[in-house]
Amino acid sequence: MQKTLDQVDENRKAKVIDIQGGQGIRQRLSQMGIHPGDIVTILRYGALRGPILIEIHGSQVALGRGIASKILVEEVE
């Protein structure tokens, strides 16, 4: 089932399907190694709708909720 990244629970893995946004956001995410097809693990949610911490290719990246809501994913496992 497809959902956005900010709807996935902590400690779950998800596969990136699509990044809905302009060239700017696509480029910034691709710099962090986030592309369609990649598997990310949701590590934790910040307090009070703070950022989301994810793991991608062995590194940890913090994403604001706004950004996370633009990443379309599919839960795996």
């Binding site: 700017g24 696509r26 691709s30 910040g46 950004i67």
Partner: protein
Amino acid sequence: MSIALAGQPNCGKSTIFNTIAGYKAITSNFPGTTVKYTETKTLINGTTCLCIDLPGTYSLTSGDPADLEARRHLLSGEVDVIINVVDASLLCRSLELTLQLLELEVPMVLCLNMMDEAQRKGINIDTQKLSEILGIPVIPSIATTGKGLKELFNEVMKVWEEKKKRKPLKFSKDIEEIINELVSILLPKRLVEEKIPSRFLALKLLENDQFFIHEINQFKNIFHQVKPLQERLEQAHGVPSDEVISSERHALAMNLFEQVSKVIHPPKKDIRIAIDQWVMHKFFGYLILVGVFYGFFNFIFGIGKFVEEPMMGVFDQWIGWLEGFFGKGTLSLFLSKGVLQGIAGGIAIVLPYLVPFLIGLSFLEDLGYLPRVAFLMDVFMHRIGLHGKSIIPFILGYGCSVPAVMATRILEFPQHRFIVSILATMIPCAARITIIFALVAFFISPNAALAIFALNILVVAISGKILSTFYPEPGSLGLILEIPAYQLPSVLNTLKKSWYRIREFIVIAWPILILGSALLALMEYFGVERYVNWFFSPLTHLLGLPVSVGTTLIFGLLRKELSMIMLTQALGATQVLTVMTKTQVMVFTVFVTFYIPCLATIAALWREIGRKGALLAILFTLSVAIILAFIAHLLFGVFPL
């Protein structure tokens, strides 16, 4: 010859740089830019090399002005060899930058750093194979212990002597066809600049890189041929052309990674993950944050007070001797006293607080704690209308306002850069922190100093709210920030890094302090000081301060430390409390903490946000300072300290 260290942030580039940089290292601004690079001249196997530490960049395609500057330097034709430093434990992601650097067709060596970290993660890398595929030397290293660095620089010299250029890796066939087509259009024209390899330029144009698209715009016939090629890529792959190229590079990097690395065992149980459970916790994270900064505060104050007290005693005694030696009221007494007070100010007042502060800041920086602070504070930054990343310029602001203003370049929108630049100058820099410690904490109480820091954060937050309503943001992207693994900083590196910053005070600021102090003594002797004080008397009167502090405020514009050192000089007493009440000390410190940034900062503001912005910053900070100091004057007038 010239070597450039390039790599992604947190890959250990600067550690390598600091290891080879003698203490001759200088920090310099590159012509035409304001981003700070560090460069050093060093002797490698008998050849003098200019080594440049470029700021960390995730890729060579970016809208971030700091990244563009790194790219501009790499393309300037002045770099003989690139050392691409890679965090071996993040090889897959890092290879994407490596592939882009190869596109520059400059001789290159890959430094596979943090091998210990990769081993801990259970990743085994076949460096031989990686070197064969990339066609460049690959040297494993552990920069924190210096392991592999000698081999690295030997290899750099070898590559430089051979001057061998390596052709970039090839993409899929259909993409290569389009690249070649564009290259054949570009090649005969020798466009943009000769130094830029045509294949690199072709790729950037296909990636819709705004900088090069703009450059090419002047050649209309070429410009019109780029678009159809972009469209062909888009039609064939069903995604925008920039995504086609970046996905291709990503796939290439992943493929490469799988070919050369093997996971030999699951990652060892890492205590650092357990630490982050607490440090980034929804509740305890904030508790720890407060604890860390409270501990940091006491660390600085403890050391500073321990050193300041006995030292001031010694200098007081010497000043007494001077009076006996030269006789009261003589010019030589005024001058020698001025010089001695300048020296004393540096040694006894500034350095005791500055040294522990800078060592502590380097430690927190190298440890990797600051990005975690950004994670925790992001939501609050949004509340005051700012981007979460703004916390980085703010934290840097506690060191010095100039790099803080420069660091606003990590923000995408000019509106953000504008607001954050102004706010960052309101954060007390190391010089002002010294003043807060040496005056308020020392003479009143440590808690009063803490109150000033708290008040400062509150005022910055409110100012942020006010400024962001006047300059609203245009739908920002939100936080995208790497949270690097903790690194236990090596003692040597922390000391070296702090030393570079302390030296800045000793070499530049201290002589100004001594000169300023002597100048003030002369002004006092010839009675000029009275006119300056008279000019400022409406302000000093309003705030209930002694008239004689007027001059110190002028000197504070040169260097913030001067305000304080001049204070002891202007009042004619090292024991401030004999001539000022605690309330006056408090009001003075509040005013100095907030008022007009120093000249170096104004210059940085001018460059970053323009003349109008700098002017606004001056007026804004001055009004805030007057209002707050006046409130403090009224408040402590009723409730004396």
